[in-house]
Symmetry: C2
């Protein structure tokens, strides 16, 4: 069983979509990553920070999936990071209504001793210097370091982002961010440029339009499963990343062919995540449901054609 170290937010989200709205519910990148990764045979731990306002029963949802929380700091008297957002009818567009950093503002991740030799490190979207400080705490070079980031850091901490990128193996980034980071419109070219910045593998997430995996001259594409209903896209990207990293940690194989499978597993889990608000769908998800949908992925994409 491989080990997976996850660093990222554990948070409160308040979400409004055309289909309904929630009060403060469990959210955060590390939460979604952990729940997705826990679907595989992997020993996973979350390093994060919350305030005393985070209900025990929310944390129990993670412990129940065997996600180690010994690296989760609970700040006495502190308040948990809070995000409130509203999605438009076109669910690809959302407005952020509230962002309260709270305890996240002073987050100094401390990697538990037991996970300083983790096989795979999944760095959720955080300030690139915070991501770097995690890498520096590892006592054994991880087999794979995966980093997620966003345009906010390109605008506000580009030098730090470029520095941490030199120390990672895989970056996950969306299409617009890949263009912003490189100035290249064609994703093939953008992925080439990003590989020159450090990561050997580039995953470009296109939301409902799927995800691309690039490595040297290799390209692989996984579509998003066409769904009857997308209820809430929150956490889909993190769920993808968690499935991707979790599968790779569990299988201990970073060949391109296995990375392809990891992309499919990530896309598969993300397709469940969007069916309910927040993390709700991930708590009840069964192995049978996962396998059934993998069959659908296969039917959706596989063909036989005679090549000369």
């Amino acid at each position: 069983m491989g080990t997976l170290l996850i660093v990222g937010t554990v948070a409160f989200d308040a979400i409004e979509t055309p289909f309904g709205k929630t009060d403060k519910i469990l959210g955060g990148a590390a939460t979604f990553i952990g729940l997705a990764a826990s679907q595989f045979e992997v020993e996973a731990a979350i390093v994060s920070v919350v305030g005393e306002d985070m209900p025990k029963e929310y944390l129990n949802l993670l412990s129940a999936k065997n996600v180690d929380l010994s690296g989760l700091e609970i700040v006495k008297g502190g308040k948990t990071f809070f995000w409130k957002g509203k999605y438009h009818n076109d669910l690809n567009v959302r407005d952020t209504l509230v962002t309260e950093l709270n305890t996240l503002a002073d987050f100094k991740p401390v990697v538990p001793q037991k996970f300083k030799d983790a096989d795979v490190v999944m760095l959720g979207n955080l300030h690139p210097s915070v991501q770097m400080s995690v890498i520096e705490q590892m006592v054994v070079q991880p087999k794979l370091i995966v980093l997620d980031t966003m345009n906010f850091w390109m605008d506000n901490a580009l030098a730090e982002l470029k520095h941490v990128m030199k120390h990672i193996d895989v970056i996950t980034i969306n299409d617009e961010e890949a263009r912003q980071l490189t100035g290249e419109y064609a994703l093939v070219k953008a992925a080439e440029e990003i590989q020159k910045m450090g990561p050997r593998f580039v995953v470009i997430k296109k939301g409902e339009h799927g995800a691309l995996l690039f490595h040297k001259e290799h390209v692989f594409f996984a579509p998003a499963l066409p769904l009857e209903e997308v209820f809430d896209p929150t956490g889909a990207g993190d769920t993808f990343a968690g499935g991707f990293a979790g599968y790779l940690a569990a299988t201990d194989n970073i060949s391109f062919n296995n990375m392809k499978r990891a992309v499919i597993h990530g896309s598969n889990l993300a397709s469940f995540c969007v069916e309910r608000f927040g993390t709700e769908r991930m708590h009840t998800l069964t192995r049978d449901e996962i396998n059934k949908r993998l069959h659908q992925f296969k039917a959706l994409t596989q063909f036989e054609i005679e090549l000369q």
Copy 2:
């Protein structure tokens, strides 16, 4: 060798993209469809109309590919349909600068006797009543009737469009148009609704985001090949349709599995079309180039995963 009847425009296009601009060059839906279909073992004919201003050498480009032009009416003293458009930096967005219907305004397609029993009929984007008049001229029920249409007809001739839809087997339509036609945002639901309107098969074209094929409970997805450079998207949708219909006519097999191959062949040919202005790339395209890119399509999408 199967027979394919193509009905659509043969036109002049003047195109401006961020990479350059053209004077009046050969364009039109039937032109792109014919050039794509001619890559397969198929006896293809175009029914269309042009004016006397259409240069003989443009028509020779089609004859050279063995596309039968006996159903192409040349109106004495008439002028050919002309479209002028300009693409934005985001090539998914374009402005139409000029549309001159000219001889197309009074187009009454006459199907040549020899093609009244064609195996496959490909109805390019035209007024739905004109498309219907072609179906009515067939003396043998075609094995497959494929219809392409656009939002303009939904706005201006919805009743006629719904009528012709009852007499076809496959509709090709883009994502926004599928939503407009049905009022359903999710493409899975839109495709279900469209199947109730007549066509047993629905192809939803998503441009650079690929194409979906729906039939009852079956769904298949083909991505667009990620390209280093998209030079001019004009004709990509028609090239897709021509490859799709041409392959089906050539193989005389309309099973879902063969339709999947047809979608791949259509996507493959469209990936070449966009590399040069207008039809330019299609004239020099070789069988070797096509096969090489089919291998790329396979590498891009095929994976092996253990399913339980």
